[in-house]
């Protein structure tokens, strides 16, 4: 065991960089960019934590992971134990360690961030989760009894996976209904392999399965059976985690030309359907030379880096605000820059121009300037009149956000909906206005984050458990 360091000594240690694959090497394929900490790096990074009495990082974490405690365990080399501490409040640490916007959450408020660089909490979380999985030591704590109550979870995204796992641990019989042929939601069809390898996700899904949860894929609730049909089959409580799968388009001229994709379609073709391995896999995707991705979020970063990997000469982000307003994770922007992605800020498309066969060949854009803040608190982009110019493009990916999936509200009357079609719930219990039905994740938040979806899942599971036991009467 290393000797106890003084706070001063701890603060003198610089943050340990995440080992990564070289940009020129990684853009040749879809292999994961980050290599992960070694045990030595993890223990060294853990030494930087000051073990604050009032840890701000815990408050910054949407699910309040006991961060100093798990970091302490890493410092002592107790990696498996550290993983268990995280799993008390976060069911999917290998995923969150990879995709959470730590710089806006725990790491943003870490005391070290004021003086320099925060503890690499995300990298450490990822390390212990990977360590546990790779050692094959993932312990499954099944309930060991059954309550005889049945719960149906709709959607196998992070929200649904979390609810299902938690309810199974409490002894309920749980079935997850998933519309697609694979589990994971956005984690499967949206987030690419180079950021979140499928094997990591599969292990998490497998963990939930081993808790006793049954997964029923190829089942669209509302189409294959309605909520009422499932009720008639004996399900007593429901969780809707159907996500925000409805892609937004901008409604501008030429948007239906060939070569123009929604980010959902582009990423689904490549990730879920493996179009990058065409013709070994049957699903094709258009590999553009000049690819423009419209938007500045994680989805846009994933799409543009995918385009680069599919061989684009120019892979460009076209974003109507400036760098500071981009909602993407900082690490993704950094990786994108290293990979030679071009950024066109304060620029927005106004129409697409096509050739006689219906293919997009150029995009007319307008320059923007930032005006006063809008309702999101970010400065509103205002078009500069007469600043129009055209850009040559052969593939465009529209990544300007998604809306809540309308399928369930459309096929079951009575759900209270918000302005953008989100299902309205009681924010404490996640109970909807429909008997026995809870909801969480992107379906109530609009496009949000994995950790918030998961947090919803945990809270909903708590109240669903009470509901099933007759102890929660809304």
């Amino acid at each position: 065991m290393p000797k106890e360091l003084s706070p001063k000594e701890r603060m003198a240690i610089p943050r340990h960089k995440m080992p990564e694959r070289e940009p020129l090497e990684r853009i040749k394929g879809f292999i994961e960019v980050n290599l992960g900490y070694t045990p030595e790096l993890a223990m060294a990074e853990a030494q930087r934590c000051l073990q604050c009495k009032k840890p701000l990082c815990v408050e910054g974490c949407p699910v309040n992971i006991d961060i100093p405690f798990f970091i302490k365990l890493i410092e002592q080399g107790e990696f498996i134990e550290a993983a268990r501490v995280i799993k008390r409040t976060n069911a999917l640490p290998a995923i969150c360690g990879r995709v959470c916007p730590q710089e806006q959450q725990c790491e943003k408020v870490c005391v070290l961030a004021k003086r320099g660089e925060p503890v690499a909490i995300g990298h450490l979380e990822r390390f212990v989760a990977d360590f546990e999985r790779e050692q094959g030591e993932v312990k499954v704590e099944t309930a060991g009894f059954t309550t005889g109550k049945k719960a149906a979870v709709i959607g196998a995204g992070p929200a649904g996976l979390t609810v299902a796992g938690e309810l199974a641990k409490k002894g309920h019989e749980v079935a997850v209904f998933e519309a697609l042929h694979a589990e994971g939601g956005v984690l499967t069809y949206g987030i690419p392999e180079f950021r979140l390898p499928n094997s990591v996700l599969e292990a998490e899904v497998d963990y939930v399965r081993r808790l006793g949860v049954e997964f029923i894929t190829n089942f669209v609730v509302g189409k294959s059976a309605t909520l009422d049909d499932l009720r008639a089959e004996g399900y007593q409580a429901f969780f809707i985690g159907s996500g925000a799968g409805l892609p937004n388009f901008m409604g501008i001229e030429g948007e239906n030309l060939n070569g123009i994709y929604s980010a959902n379609e582009y990423l689904t073709r490549v990730n879920l359907m493996r179009a990058y391995l065409f013709p070994e896999y049957d699903t094709p995707v258009i590999r553009g030379k000049h690819v423009a991705v419209i938007g500045g979020g994680n989805t846009a970063m994933d799409a543009v880096r995918t385009a680069k990997r599919l061989g684009a000469e120019r892979a460009m982000i076209v974003y109507r605000r400036s760098r500071e307003e981009m909602p993407a994770r900082v690490e993704e922007v950094k990786h994108a820059e290293e990979e030679g992605i071009e950024f066109h800020f304060l620029t927005a498309p106004v129409r697409y121009l096509g050739d006689q066969h219906g293919w997009v060949k150029a995009m007319e854009c307008i320059r923007m300037e930032l005006g006063p803040p809008d309702e999101s608190g970010r400065r509103r982009p205002v078009p500069i009149e007469g600043s129009n110019f055209t850009m040559e493009v052969d593939v465009v990916v529209v990544a300007v956000g998604v809306s809540p999936n309308p399928l369930i509200p459309r096929t079951h009357a009575g759900f209270k909906l918000g302005r953008r079609g989100e299902i309205v719930v009681d924010m404490n219990t996640l109970y909807t206005n429909v008997e026995g039905v809870f909801a969480g994740g992107d379906i109530i938040l609009g496009g949000s984050t994995v950790i918030l979806a998961m947090g919803d899942g945990r809270r909903a599971a708590h109240y669903m458990d009470l509901y099933l036991k007759g102890e929660f009467k809304p």
Partner: protein, 284 residues
């Protein structure tokens, strides 16, 4: 996994399948479709459910072997397995009594209008079917449709059977001869467009069933975008049936051709492999 319980060859490279899918069988209405993925590396593609029996839990669908996926499907045998089937998807046809209904089917479209012919007849309409094929050998489901309608008119491009000419010629004559209240057209895009042009002038309500390229089939990707009445709609959730007079067929045609070179490559590789590759179905 969905086992093929029964396979029937209806014509050249045209097969009808029966599989057990009780949820789909129970809820499916005419006009709805399923998405299939035959094997692990396969693409997701839509096929119309041609019939369903809620009692036995079986559904039927018909595939014309055109690209790799449909040819692969048609190469499967009874007992083989299809990896994924999901549905029923899309809006059901709003079947009702119009009076006299003309169902126009061209090529593979004939397989799609067959369930509609039955449904509209059962709703009490006088039903006249017009089926068109390039040549006699390609005409399908003639007897099945004949026994479900009041009158059947067949056209072939080369005159080898029925009347020589296009379905639109037959439809025009029909409309001269008697009052038609509602027209349904399913077939190649140029055929549907021609029918739409013909009935627009006469103000006869007309419905077409579109077949845009789809990926998920549940409204998540927008691959199936169609332009209808100047608005962008999703074929898989807002359709597949639309008012023929509002559809932008030119855009549809162009979008359908987007992957032509790749589809050809896929098919070429598949055919070059020969029979052996049918073993992949239902497997890894």
């Amino acid at each position: 996994m969905f086992e093929i319980k029964e396979k029937k060859e209806l014509g050249k490279d045209l097969c009808q399948f029966r599989v057990h899918a009780p949820y789909i069988a129970r809820r499916r209405r005419p006009g709805q479709f399923i998405m299939l993925r035959i094997y692990e590396k396969g693409e997701r593609f839509p096929l119309t459910v041609s019939d369903a029996d809620p009692e036995s839990g079986d559904i039927w669908f018909i595939a014309m072997g055109i690209g790799k996926s449909t040819k692969l499907l048609n190469s499967l045998k009874e007992g083989d397995k299809i990896r994924d089937i999901v549905g029923p998807l899309g809006k059901p046809t709003p079947v009702k009594k119009h009076g006299t209904v003309a169902c126009v089917g061209g090529g593979v479209g004939i397989a799609l209008i067959y369930p509609l012919v039955k449904a509209y007849r059962e709703a009490g309409n006088r039903l006249i079917s017009i089926l068109g094929a390039r040549t006699k050998e390609l005409l399908i489901l003639e007897e099945e449709i004949r026994s479900n309608c009041d009158e059947l008119i067949v056209t072939t491009d080369d005159g080898s059977y029925g009347r020589k000419g296009f379905v639109t010629d037959a439809l025009r004559d029909l409309m001269e001869r008697e009052k038609v209240d509602f027209v349904i057209a399913v077939g190649p895009v140029p055929m549907m467009k021609a029918v739409a042009d013909l009935t627009r002038d006469r103000g006869i309500e007309t419905m077409v069933s579109l077949n845009p390229i789809m990926v998920d089939g549940t409204g998540m990707c927008g691959a199936c975008r169609v332009q209808v009445g100047g608005k962008t709609l999703f074929g898989c959730v807002d359709g597949p049936e639309f008012n023929a007079h509002e559809v932008d067929f030119d855009i549809l045609m162009k979008r359908l051709s987007a992957y032509k070179p790749m589809e050809e490559e896929s098919l070429r590789l598949f055919l070059a492999q020969g029979e052996g590759n049918t073993r992949v179905a239902g497997g890894e």
